[in-house]
């Protein structure tokens, strides 16, 4: 009998699985949640981005030190020309902070104890924000009491100048807090802020409040007003263009006219026999009340009768801007006269009869 020398068995027993079922190996993708990026990973990406930026600048023959994000976008568009319609699908090179979604680092230490005292509420940043806000409210009230004690309390104090700003929307707040909140939570937060604003001495916390407000852009300032030219008689006229579906048109609006309209050299009645189209043309002039004042010379091509009428209407409204004041321009914008209609014919898809219509469903 051979003596088998058995050495002391190591503590870890090497077991070999004989048969494996694939079910155990398959990952439960749903339970894993969104992909988690570690801070080291993000840092590495940032370093790579910076190095890559310098390489890119080198390739393009520019100075790596003064290479801005716009230069990067330009260079990428040049090096990787893409014909894709979706701008988001095109190749892009941006700072990792803008690409990778903001994620929270591990909220607990090696011993498993969470760092934040409100961790077990589930929405720690939201509740901590609520606590901070309420802190500020108490601060203001304490300030008021102190002033009252000194006898310097007065109700007519300077209010926080809100101007044309709005509260953060729920999505923006979620972005700041890096966690999802419900509509109810958001409303409570806004109510608390409003309550804070209603206190007389809220001016002391102005900086805190303004962090949660965004400026509203006045839409009408973005409108380009066409230049008013003068012809040799001194009569003002403006030329504009308009588009709707596949129609293109250009309109020359002349002042000191009699309400005469000519389209492609033809009379209005001859070109637009349908009342609806003529009403479309009349709408901008009737809205501002300048019906008999202008002469219109229009030329239009493409599309059908309705889209030609819509294009002409847009062009006439734009041409009128030069003759109007700011307030009237705002009125026109709100009436929808200055908005180009983005609706275009939807393409037909394969497997369907039209853009939306499916083939007749037959049970058998």
């Amino acid at each position: 009998m051979l003596l088998i020398h058995t050495s002391s068995r190591p503590p870890q027993v090497q077991t070999r699985q004989i048969c494996v079922s694939s079910v155990l190996h398959r990952k439960n993708l749903a339970a894993a949640g969104p992909e988690k990026f570690t801070t080291e990973f993000i840092q590495k990406q940032v370093e790579e981005f910076n190095i890559g930026k310098r390489h890119l600048a080198n390739m393009m023959g520019e100075d790596p030190e003064t290479f801005t994000q716009e230069d990067i976008d330009r260079s990428i568009a040049y090096l990787f020309p893409s014909g894709l319609f979706q701008k988001k699908a095109r190749p892009v090179m941006k700072h990792p902070d803008e690409i990778f979604p903001k994620q929270r680092a591990i909220q607990w230490g090696p011993d498993g104890r969470p760092f934040h005292f409100l961790f077990y509420t589930g929405k720690q940043s939201y509740y901590s924000l609520m606590h901070d806000t309420y802190d500020k409210v108490l601060n203001i009230e304490m300030h008021q009491d102190r002033l009252r004690a000194k006898g310097l309390f007065s109700t007519d104090t300077k209010n926080i100048s809100l101007g044309s700003s709005r509260w953060l929307i729920k999505e923006e707040l979620e972005e700041i807090l890096v966690e999802t909140i419900s509509d109810h939570d958001y409303m409570r937060f806004i109510k608390l802020m409003e309550r804070m604003l209603s206190l007389p001495y809220s001016v002391i916390e102005e900086e805190f409040v303004l962090r949660f407000r965004r400026q509203l852009e006045v839409q009408s300032t973005k409108q380009v007003v066409p230049q008013l030219e003068r012809d040799e008689r001194g009569v003002a006229f403006s030329t504009t263009e308009g588009r709707r579906k596949t129609s293109n048109c250009s309109v020359v609006l002349r002042d000191c006219g009699s309400g005469h309209v000519s389209i492609n050299g033809q009379d209005l009645l001859l070109y637009f026999p349908v009342l609806q189209d003529r009403q479309q043309l009349m709408f901008p002039l009737q809205f501002v009340g300048m019906l008999g004042r202008f002469d219109l010379e229009c030329s239009v091509s493409g599309g059908g009768r309705s889209s030609q009428a819509g294009a002409l209407r847009l062009a006439i409204s734009r041409a009128l801007l030069g003759f109007l004041s700011e307030g009237e321009m705002e009125n026109m914008r709100q009436a929808g006269l200055l908005t180009p209609d983005p609706r275009v014919r939807e393409r037909k898809k394969p497997g369907q009869e039209g853009a939306r219509r499916k083939f007749t469903w037959k049970k058998r």
Partner: protein, 440 residues
Amino acid sequence: MRRATSCDAAAAAAFFLITPGGVNFRHNRNRRYANRRRRKKMYLNWVKLWNLKTQVTNVRPLHVNGYQQQQQEALAVELESSHETLPIFRTQESDPARHLEKHIGQYYTLPPEHIRTLFPHGLPRRFQTQVKTFNEGCVMVRQPALEVISSLKKVDYSKPAPRFVLYGVKGSGKTMALCHTAHFCSTQGWLVLHIPDAHKWVKNCKELLQSSYNASRFDQPLQASTWLRNFRTTNEHFLSKIKTSQRYIWTKRESTEEGKPLRELVDQGISRVKSSSDVVGAVMKELRLRSGHPEAGFRLAVVVDGVNALWGRSTIKKEDRSFVNPEELTLVYNLRKMMRNDWCGGAIVTTLAQTGSLYSPKTAYLPQELLGKEGFDNMDPFIPVSVSNYSEKEFESCYLYYQDRHWLQHPQSKTEDGKKELIFLSERNPSILERLCASL
């Protein structure tokens, strides 16, 4: 017809499920939509007429609120004042011979008996409905009609008949000017030969007979007999005075002797429909011959609407499915002979019409374009009279007339802005304006 209810929709749906495949029932749906539109139109018209009735005839409504009372009082005041002074857009002159330049833009009333006798078929369809609605036939005095009338007053009737051609864009008032002229002619005691629409003779012919007189030509008995009936209504008093100049043989057994009154000829045509087209030709020939005589005692006015149909194309088909040439139609042939100015003692007043014409482009309105080379050569020389859209004064007059008749119910239409809108949308075209106001 009962209203479409939800059970209809359910029944229709059930029907769809039963029938296999995707059978298209769109025609049912379209018919339902058309019915709904028609009923809505009828209802709206009824509402309008009801409003007119309660206001114009001063019937006391069942319940009067403050606004209605005010309206009625205003109307009463207006009616009183209108008895004393005529509104600016009306004129007292109902005799077209006395219409002058100063009456341009004003409405004159056609006496009801004149409408019945003179215009059994001559007025435009929409004007006839307007006459029925407003209970009066008011025609506006306009420049083109006055031109023709003044020319007719000065014409030397021993010379060949002058030809007038009224032309203009669609809806500018050519037919109305023609009717004004016809009214003038009849009040002056002329014999008016009024062909309401020559286009009706070259299209939609239900019966086409081969002519017995000339084998290469075709007869249209229905159109000819209707026209003869209307002709008889218009010119009752002339028919007994004029005598035939020759013997006409219609069939082996029927004939009209020489020297018989024209009435017999016309009655022959109406009763024996088969020979009515030839009767029309005979009547025209007689009138041509008679009007030339100085002792005839009457003048002949040939008033034709849509004269470009005579030299255009037709949509009537022969048995071998080829199109009939207009000159192969008896009626058209005879009318062409009438258009020749080889007779005297009268005048020819015509209109060009693109609306009913066949195979002519929509933009054509000038005589050259609509008559074509052949028609122009035949009509040459003629006096062209252009009919344009309303001027500012005429538009104002029309607007006031509609206001007076309470035709414009929309509150916005009573304002200045509303008037500007009307001007823009209709470009002062009479027919477009009328259609626009009908829906307000």
